[in-house]
Amino acid sequence: MKELEKTKQTEWAERIRSLDDPATASKKPEALDDLVVLDLSSRSMAGCFCSSLLAELGAETIRIEPPGGDIVRTYSPNGIMHKETGLAYLQEGRNKYHVTLNLETEEGREMLKSLAGQADILIETYPAGTMDVWGIGYDELCKINPRLIFASLTAFGQFGPESGRSQYDYDNVSQARSGIQYATGEILPEGKTFDEMPHAVPTKAGPWIAWATSGAFAAVGILAALFHRTMTGEGQAIDVATPEAYERFNDYGLHWYGDQGVINERFGNLDACLWLYGFYPTQDGGVFLGGLRLEMWKALVDMLGKWDEWGADEWTTLAPFTKKDWQLKYQAMINPLTSQYTSEELTAKSIDYAKSGRLAPITPVVAEIVPPSKTMQDENWQERGIFTPVQDPIYGSIVCAQAQWKATETPPRTKWVCRPVGYDNGFVYLKYLGYGPVRLKELDEKGVI
């Protein structure tokens, strides 16, 4: 019976893979290849991430930078440059055409209006009001092109008492404003100060998750607006504030305070809502341990040899274990036990337990907390196309995460990773404005492009 199930499972996996393996993506159609996107993102990777998602789906995406390029091209650890491009932009320049345009000039703004007249979507990240002052805000552009979908991704949104602030949107500042950083981080031990333990403070996530979330919400809004446009022919303006976008991930903090006056505080590597659920130390690093059913928690206790000593036999419900003091008490009891093993040993123990433990096949979830270098080497992700290098004619073979979802008809794909500043001026301005080399030279000399 088990064998039969196994065979059926393999057949299923092979069937789905034959339909959606990203290795075959280039043979398939693209969902958004009928659309033209203008990306005016300035200083913000939220806008770039948003336009990347559309570009990966085939939209002709024109990235408009000031002459000399946008500062996002310099975002890079330790200032490392690869062919004059920061490593972060090698992720989010993908599939885009890169042109320069000086929006501080009248002529540049007129050119933008012409582009907007022919585009479907415009993405911008200037502080609210900037585009309006330039005369190229939504109120103006919708007169030229009522079908235009105009998305602004900013630090404070387009309206509301703080929206007049002329500050740009940065990921770390938005993480700080979301309420999530406040609740994430190590607990400061009683009697200690932040000066003594500078790591036991509210801690942001390493990746640009506020920007990515803002960009993904904007993409969802844009695609929903596109559906509305298909039905009615009308475009619209979209307003995403990055701190709000990320704050939406906070699933109970708002309500908890609203009802109980409780502020969700840092709880280290445990989870206020869940048990068994946390990170635990091992000899060579750490593991995630999870088991949201009583039996899985008991299985862990058994696996660590504490079934009798801790009285696991008597436990009938998981409920008391999620209480704060119980979580801290048991964490302190588990830590020295998991520390006796390597992460690999502990993972192996859980697999063995599933075969021959007292509660087998029940076993806790054990997942090694790996460095991203190990993630990138993991054959599972490699086989599933996440780290397939992109063969870029200018930047060479570049690894950037892709194939983030699989699709049978219109999978996302990455064709090139980036282009130098102004690389596509010739192509784009000829295609959309009919400007040839003579005109472009004039514009270049005048500082318009």
Binding site: Q9, W12, A13, A31, L32, M45, I71, P77, N78, G79, M81, L87, F159, P161, S163, R165, Q167, Y170, D171, V173, Q175, R177, Q181, T184, E186, F194, G206, A216, F217, A218, V220, A224, A225, F227, H228, M231, Q236, A237, I238, R248, N250, D251, Y252, W256, I263, N264, Y277, G278, F279, P281, A367, E368, I369, S373, M376, N380, W381, E383, R384, W405
Partner: protein
């Protein structure tokens, strides 16, 4: 303010929702699954949440340190607004048949089960496509439908995804253990990316009439958001390492401890911002210091640590509020750290209607987040919260499938349809009047 957003909040209910006319079936539990269809529901799609009777979604049991709201799990409420609640046993032939009848009249179906389970339940993509070739069908789970981890049938959850993607590794302070996020980031971000996939498939369907199958992994989606890490590792041969609150790609950008023992975050990479910050610190000459001359130079580790030290020493002499104000005056990004009290009390969030009161027939008034996407012509809106397991069965059966009460009774008799178990989170709240929230009253 642009004309387009004038009186946005006031006129919200004079405008249609963007996804009007779409029907979504959701067979999902926990967070990664249900969060996605909620975004669609907030944008006006008719989302039917199908749970297995009588216990339904596990999230109904989740609670921070024992706090439930009128017996309900607060995370469940946050994750599942604007839906219709149906309890259908998909283990039974007749339940599968009902599901197919509903799917034939739907646009999107969403599952989050282990690989192959939909097929064993006879509601896999092939079976549904047969009754509705236009269907957009997404499955979300730990490792996707194929590959070695999927073949091992490994369980997963958000914490495991944070661990396996390398996300946790680069989210702590240097030389400290990797840190778990306080939110279920891989779940909700993954759910969001899932809707990018679904809505792009919808556009393709509008052009071609063709539906499709999508699969989304809990770990893979978050890797896409990890940016510079992958080319950095490839091109330098080094592993990415954590840097605490310092943004490794932007300088200066960090969180600082202030005079009042509170925290403020700031960022000032562009020349005008950096000069503004130096002026605010009373040290305008720093903007001309060779070590900090341009962004790329400033990012080099020794220069970055030097300028961050200068800022940290200065920040300790100012309150967090003072730093935020100086950011406003001098044109660099700065904020004091916000917490749940700010989320509730900040007038900006309220005036934008991002934080708002819900007036729910069953759960009463409570505070909730609006979808953080303001759309000038088609505003998304949260209207109601969750319902007990199987609460809207009668309405759905009558409205969509035209079932009579005697047919519905028969489905209950066979255990195809079900209602809630008499326990916390599954049944109506204790103060319920036996009628509020019922759509089809007989």
């Amino acid at each position: 303010m642009p004309e387009a957003f004038k009186d946005y909040v006031k006129n919200k209910f004079r405008k249609p929702a963007p996804l009007k006319g779409l029907r979504v079936l959701e067979v999902c539990t926990l967070l990664f699954g249900p969060a996605g269809p909620s975004f669609l529901a907030e944008m006006g799609a008719e989302v039917i949440k199908i749970e297995l009777p009588p216990l339904g979604d596990v999230t109904r049991s989740l609670n921070p340190f024992g706090w439930f709201y009128k017996e309900q799990g607060p995370a469940f409420m946050h994750i599942n607004p604007n839906k219709y609640y149906m309890a259908l046993d998909l283990h039974i032939d007749l339940g599968q048949q009902i599901f197919k009848e509903l799917a034939a009249k739907s646009d999107i179906v969403e599952f989050n089960l282990r690989p192959g389970v939909t097929s064993r339940w006879n509601v896999g993509y092939d079976e549904i496509r047969e009754v509705n070739p236009r269907i957009i069908y997404i499955e979300k789970n730990g490792f996707g439908q194929w590959g070695r981890y999927a073949a091992e049938n490994r369980p997963s959850n958000d914490g495991a995804a944070q661990a396996l993607a390398g996300y946790a590794w680069i989210s702590s302070f240097p030389n400290r253990p990797p840190l778990k996020q306080s939110v279920w980031v891989c779940d909700v971000f993954g759910a969001l990316m899932g809707e990018v996939a679904v809505l792009s498939a919808l556009h393709h369907r509008n052009k071609t009439g063709k539906g499709q199958y999508l699969e989304m992994s809990q770990s893979e989606n978050i890797m896409r958001a990890m940016g510079w890490v992958w080319p950095y590792q490839q091109l330098t041969g080094k592993g990415a390492e954590p840097a605490g609150n310092r943004d490794q790609c932007i300088c200066p950008a960090d969180t600082f401890l202030c005079k009042d023992d509170k925290f403020a975050a700031l960022a000032a990479p562009a020349p005008d911002e950096f000069r503004g910050l130096c002026t605010a610190m009373g040290k305008p000459v720093l903007a001309d210091d060779a070590r900090f001359a341009d962004h790329t130079t400033r990012l080099q580790d020794e220069n970055a640590f030097a300028i961050l030290k200068i800022i940290a020493d200065w920040a300790r002499t100012k309150t967090a509020d003072e730093i935020e104000t100086l950011g406003k005056e001098h044109g660099f990004a700065a904020t004091r750290l916000h917490n749940a009290r700010d989320e509730n009390e900040d007038p900006h969030r309220r005036e934008r209607d991002f934080v708002k009161e819900i007036d729910d027939p069953m759960y009463g008034k409570y505070v909730e987040h609006e979808l953080p996407v303001m759309m000038s012509k088609t505003p998304p809106k949260i209207k109601w919260t969750v319902r007990p397991v199987g609460f809207d069965n009668e309405f759905i059966m009558a409205k969509i499938l035209g079932k009579t009460q005697s047919e519905i009774n028969e489905l209950y008799r066979y255990g195809v349809l079900g209602k809630w178990k008499d326990m916390q989170g599954r049944r109506p709240p204790p103060d319920w009047d036996q009628k509020s929230g019922v759509i089809l009253r007989r």
